[in-house]
């Protein structure tokens, strides 16, 4: 079990900060979550709802030679957007092996337990679990 290089950099960035500043970094990630590519924005039915999150967040994973994660979450749910953005950026371009090797408790490594709360972090673990399941499903389809 290991992080992708990009996720490791994100974890290091969070861990190097004071707790209060970690929320600001999460906000930056929330701001950075890209809009869905038009081909998916027009077909929301193709995306999977993450039931573990309190806010409506939808995911879709593409696998060619590499993994690409697309996600959408409303502006009123910045925490969820931030988590989705961390995962999408951290898994972008990873190999299938790298994506599946990310430990399921990865969200806890961000040091957000006290500033976000363990309950809210559960949603992020749910997102990661669904991304990894979609990766496996795409493999089966190949």
């Amino acid at each position: 079990m290991r992080l992708t290089p990009a996720l490791q950099r994100t974890v290091d960035d969070f861990q190097s900060m004071e707790e209060g500043d970690r929320l600001q970094l999460l906000l930056e990630f929330a701001d950075e979550l890209p809009d869905l590519p038009q081909r998916y924005a027009d077909h929301p039915d193709l995306l999977e709802r993450v039931a573990e999150c309190q806010s409506p967040v939808f995911l879709l994973v593409e696998v060619d030679d590499h993994v690409h994660v697309h996600a959408s979450a409303p502006a009123e749910a910045p925490t969820t957007r931030g988590f989705a953005s961390i995962l999408a950026q951290g898994l972008e371009g990873a190999t299938v092996g790298e994506a599946l090797a990310v430990p399921t408790d990865m969200p806890r490594l961000l040091g957000l337990d006290r500033v976000v709360s363990p309950l809210r972090l559960r949603g992020m673990a749910g997102m990661l679990g669904r991304i990894q399941r979609q990766v496996r499903e795409r493999l089966d389809q190949h």
């Binding site: 929330a30 409506p56 009123e76 910045p78 500033v115």
Partner: protein, 301 residues
Amino acid sequence: MTESEPRFAEYAAPERLVSTDWVAAHLDDPDVVIVESDEDVLLYEVGHIPGAVKVDWHTELNDPVQRDYVSPAAFAELLGRKGIGRDTTVVFYGDKANWWATYALWVFALYGHDRTRIMDGGRDAWIAEGRELTREPARRPAVEVPVVERDDRTLRAFRDDVLAHLGRPLVDVRSPEEYAGLRTTAPAYPEEGALRAGHIPTAASVPWGRAVHEDGTFRSRAELEAIYLDGAGLRGADDVIAYCRIGERSSHTWFVLTYLLGIPGVRNYDGSWTEWGSLVGVPIAVGAEPGTVPGQTGPAR
């Protein structure tokens, strides 16, 4: 501050509500602090009313270890750090039709902090009206706040209080699906924390959101009376317990019953379904009907 706005005059305690206009006119009032309380811990950072401070229910009002609210000393420290004096008027607003704002107001009330108001319509109303938001965190000077003991008897109910209360008015403010026992969490929310589904026997089902319009503002007094006094049978009640899953949605109903309808003796059972639905040996009813108190025949009351 005892003034109230004409549009709220029909409610039992009109001074408990303020409009977005009122807030906009009091942004620089040193005796008023605006507090944002949201479900999403980052929403304040995305943009808030200029000068508003943030109070997060999860990380600041709940004790991090024990399932309870923070200690009186920790609450005083929190308020001091936020610049909220004992005599400061606190106006709460937040997302989801003030769901979390009313929860924060209820917790403040446990510590005797009574100069509290809700901005009608909440965060969505402010934004819908195109009013200013800022990402600049408010910096209020810290103040000295005395440590005040928490009163857990007047506004708060524990599980034993609810058991002893069975047969008197109970309001279940969760969704119809949770009430009937089809699920233990709100629709579209994660399943968490209760081993049995259903409701406390005899509780009336009034989902909390019925108290507000689509835009998050409170319904008129006549509409609220039809819902709660007629529909839920609370006319003449003076001893009501409301509950939901962890006490947040029922804080909203507690606010409505207490301040908008003027029902005395309303308590919030914050243990709510996450406690009751896991307790050994307590009665539970399933289905759409309120059910009966065990040992009694026929409907309660």
